[in-house]
């Protein structure tokens, strides 16, 4: 009896040892990134979940692990500055508005495009020494089709069309601190006849709009469309798309800014930190981000315009995305782009705060 027990134990141990070694061998053979932990600074919520759906399983199959530092690019940039470049992450999402500050601080590593083969499918202006484009977003006016008909007001084509007594207190606009805040504000400034160094006309137009709420989380905009509090909202086409998918009859219009300029663009970038100890994994991640498959998923789920040319073609088949987004290269070129090299962001914020404060 006793002997039996000892034998069973011995067999178990042996089995376990063999199991463990083979398991180890398996991963050792398969994994390009064994034991590597890659830290990615990005937005939370469904944005991150898109990556968890497609990119994370692939990285894990290579033996690595991805951790996300969630927060807006601004918040993550603040973490980076607080850590004096000793970033608590390896890859980060960067907004076009931050590019100048990012370059000034010099915390980004030079990119090795040989490790990012998918960049062959993206336009040259979306590649730079330290950064590569990740998505385009289109900032639009999103409005409730039925409510506009009920009120008998024409469909908006420009920001000025939102200045109407019927719409007073029924519009939301992105807060300057939200991801699309600077781009939309810049769009309004240009539409109102101002420019990067003279934002007052834009502030006046925003005050004329009688805005209910400056939003910093798109989810609230969606909830307020559903509750009937707002019937028009300025912001990212992605939120309009998600509102529509949530069952509200909204559509988007790309506002006319001036002669020959229609719509407002915002560009996302990716960069690898100098402090990163796993640059190969970081490059691998960027490559996956730019893959057709991921760009398509991102476009349909989050309403972004892919920058991978192949993905753009695929996305044209999706009815809601095709309705909300401008996908034609010529049309995209007509969009208003803010020249952030001329902008002192803290001045913009300061003037904004003073103008909208109650």
């Amino acid at each position: 009896m006793k002997k039996n027990k000892a034998m069973t134990f011995g067999i178990l141990v042996a089995a376990a040892t063999i199991g463990l070694t083979t398991a180890n061998l398996n991963t050792a053979m398969a994994g390009q990134f064994d034991g590597v932990t890659l830290r990615v600074a990005t937005w939370g919520g469904s944005w991150k979940e898109n990556m968890e759906e497609l990119i994370v399983p692939k990285f894990e199959a290579e033996g690595g692990k991805i951790e996300f530092v969630t927060g807006s690019p601004q918040a993550n940039f603040a973490k980076l500055v607080a850590a004096r470049g000793n970033a608590p992450f390896d890859v980060m999402e960067i907004l076009d508005a931050q590019v100048a500050d990012m370059m000034e601080l010099g915390y980004l590593r030079e990119l090795d495009f040989g490790l990012i083969p998918n960049t062959s499918n993206i336009a040259d202006f979306q590649k730079s020494e330290n950064m590569v484009g990740s998505w385009d977003s289109q900032e639009v006016i999103c409005y409730h089709v039925d409510k506009f008909e009920e009120l008998g007001i024409p469909r908006p084509t420009t920001y000025k069309d939102l200045v109407r007594p019927e719409l007073a207190g029924k519009i939301s606009f992105p807060d300057i601190n939200s991801g699309g805040g600077l781009a939309n504000f810049g769009g309004v400034v240009h539409a109102a006849g101002g420019d990067e160094t003279n934002v007052q006309p834009g502030l006046d137009l925003i005050n004329d709009m009688q805005i209910l709420k400056f939003w910093s989380r798109g989810g609230e905009t969606l909830a307020q469309f559903q509750s009937g509090d707002i019937i028009a909202s300025v912001g990212n086409a992605g939120w309009c798309l998600r509102t529509k998918k949530a069952g509200v009859n909204v559509t988007s219009v790309h506002p006319v800014i001036k002669e020959g300029v229609v719509g407002v663009a915002k560009v996302g970038w990716l960069g690898v930190m100098k402090s990163s100890e796993v640059p190969e994994a970081a490059h691998w991640f960027i490559n996956e981000y730019l893959s057709e498959e991921f760009q398509v998923l991102f476009a349909t789920k989050s309403g972004l315009v892919p920058i991978n040319k192949k993905a753009i073609e695929t996305i044209k088949e999706d009815p809601i995305a095709a309705e909300m987004l401008v996908l034609d290269a010529e049309e995209i070129a007509k969009e208003q782009r803010i020249d952030y090299s001329k902008v002192t962001i803290s001045d913009w914020t300061d003037q904004w705060n003073r103008s909208v404060a109650q």
Binding site: I211, K213, F214, E220, A223, S227, D229, R354
Partner: protein
């Protein structure tokens, strides 16, 4: 008894003091240097930031809005919370526990989530506004977004639970026999409240008001979520200055002003309450 009780104070005091002093010093020190943007500060001792604060009506207004919303939230916490605390404290049945649990539970849910409930309740055609408009009390729907009343409502969701629990333990210290005695002598109920309960609870009420007020002065989620980007309280400005504009010395300056005003208001109110009590004693 021959126990050196003060020895017990040493470890907690050393830890608390080090944390308070060291952290505040490291952070507030930077407020005395020029802000060079992007988290960089100058190395010359200047008072520029403070001058900027006190000469700029935008900041002064933010200070006032912070004090106003915190004060209102503390006051309404007392007005709404005291009767509840009193009711539970004097209740003899099992219901008291259920009611207390309700208060505690509500405090566990972060305002970040509650905001979505508030959107539904206070929406233009939500239940609150339908009742309000239906009853003829108002001609326009009431919105809680982008104004100070919304911020106060948000703050109260954060403080009312704490307030009721604190007031509950204060009411517990007032013997029921005192009230009964006063009532037997023919005092009307409200007189009992006014003459017996209120004076006895006053020190506790002051402590509760100050604690709730202090909590509000440091809270930024309510103002950030319900202020609709229009209500700038100092905590919101600190968060924006440090996290968005990355101006550390300016952020530290705003923080220092906030800190000093909180401490000043605390000292002032404790002083005032002492004076009030002294006056009251003389009168009696």
């Amino acid at each position: 008894m021959y126990v050196r009780w003060w020895l017990l104070l040493i470890p907690p005091f050393v830890i608390s003091f080090t944390l308070v002093a060291a952290s505040q010093f490291v952070f507030l020190e930077s407020s005395f240097f020029k802000d060079l943007g992007l988290g960089r500060i100058g190395d010359e001792f200047v008072l520029d930031n403070y001058v900027q604060f006190v000469t700029d009506s935008f900041f002064l207004r933010a200070l006032w809005v912070t004090i106003k919303t915190s004060g209102l939230a503390a006051l309404f916490t007392l007005i709404l919370g005291f009767p509840v605390a009193y009711m539970i404290a004097r209740m003899r049945s099992q219901w008291a526990m259920i009611l207390l649990a309700g208060i505690v539970i509500s405090t566990f849910i972060t305002i970040v989530i509650k905001v979505y409930g508030l959107i539904v309740i206070f929406s233009a055609n939500g239940m609150f506004n339908q009742a309000l408009l239906g009853s003829g009390l108002a001609s326009r729907p009431f919105s809680i977004f982008g104004n100070t009343s919304g911020v106060v409502i948000g703050l109260m969701h954060f403080t009312l639970g704490f307030g009721v629990l604190l007031l509950y333990s204060i009411v517990q210290t007032i013997p029921k026999s005192l009230e009964d005695a006063a009532q037997i002598h023919g005092a009307k109920r409200w007189r009992v409240y006014y003459r017996v309960i209120f004076p006895l609870a006053l020190p506790g009420i002051t402590a509760m008001l100050l604690m709730v007020f202090n909590m509000c002065m440091g809270a930024f989620t309510s103002a950030a979520l319900l202020g609709g980007g229009r209500v700038f309280t100092l905590p919101v400005l600190i968060q924006r200055t440090v996290m968005m504009d990355i101006k550390y010395s300016l952020g530290a300056t705003i923080a220092a002003v906030l800190l000093v005003s909180v401490i000043a208001i605390n000292i002032l109110s404790i002083f005032l309450v002492r004076r009030m009590r002294a006056a009251h004693l003389v009168m009696v």
